[in-house]
């Protein structure tokens, strides 16, 4: 069966996020007040073949932990569902 996976990668709390900080600093100049806590992460999407949803979830999480993220600086949330 084919499953689609979405990996939402975020920098861990306390890790330097210059892209987020720069966006946040630019907002007042554009007329937006009170926007705080801007962070920039990345989203990785892929499809994978597996027998069951649980197997697909495990595979995606392994791939995420071993390659897609560096646990020293990043956290990730992995969402897997049957591909439509």
């Amino acid at each position: 069966m084919k499953f689609s996976a979405l990996v939402d990668v975020r920098l861990r709390e306390g890790i330097s996020d210059p892209a987020g900080a720069t966006i946040e600093r630019a907002l007042p100049a554009l007329g937006y007040q009170g926007v705080e806590g801007v962070t920039v992460g990345k989203t990785i999407r892929f499809t994978l073949e597996a027998e069951t949803l649980a197997e697909a979830q495990t595979m995606a999480e392994e791939l995420c932990a071993s390659f897609l993220t560096n646990p020293v600086i990043e956290d990730a949330e992995v969402t897997v569902e049957a591909a439509s």
Binding site: S16, D17, L68, N70, V72
Partner: protein
Amino acid sequence: MTATVGVVVFPGTNCEADALEAVTSLGAQGRLLWHGEADLGDVDAVIVPGGFAHGDYLRPGAIARFSPVMDGVAKFAAKGGPVVGICNGFQVLTEAGLLPGALQKNKGLKFLCQPSVLRVESANSVLTSQAQVGDELSIPINHFEGNYTCSEQTLKQLQDEDRIVLTYVDNPNGSLGNIAGVCNETRNVVGLMPHPERACHELLGSMDGAVLLRSLLAS
């Protein structure tokens, strides 16, 4: 006998010629090691130089770590062979698990290309054996992701085991504990963000990198 230094080249590496020139000027032979080759051949030391290996896609070093040459580098290191990762090479070695911690984006939000003054914190590593603790060396930095970070537990271990080999006198990038370079448990793998190969000739404004590369050649 003349030492032979292998200089690893990934697609996107751009400091291999500087590294070769520096080690050659110090009396060694240099040899480029293409990333697709797992066999390092007969080398006495390995430099993983700076650049943007595999375009730094995903994260600096994340993809380079899977190149066949890194198997060879890991085996060479496991046998006690001296390995130094400079700048992007340091990032590659942390991603490969040969050194602890990670390099995050600079605290000041800027790419930094400037001279920096380093303090030798430990002379017990393949890169610092010919220096003295307390020596101050002027060596340039050239990076965006050079802000060293690790867990509190790892930092304590590095301190307790005297594995922080170089620190910044005036921390330019926010690195935890002013760390500019660290070594592994067996002290034969060292990573640093500054570029000693760019400070080996008086025309370059500093020859302070020579003591580090001489240490590598002597190890």
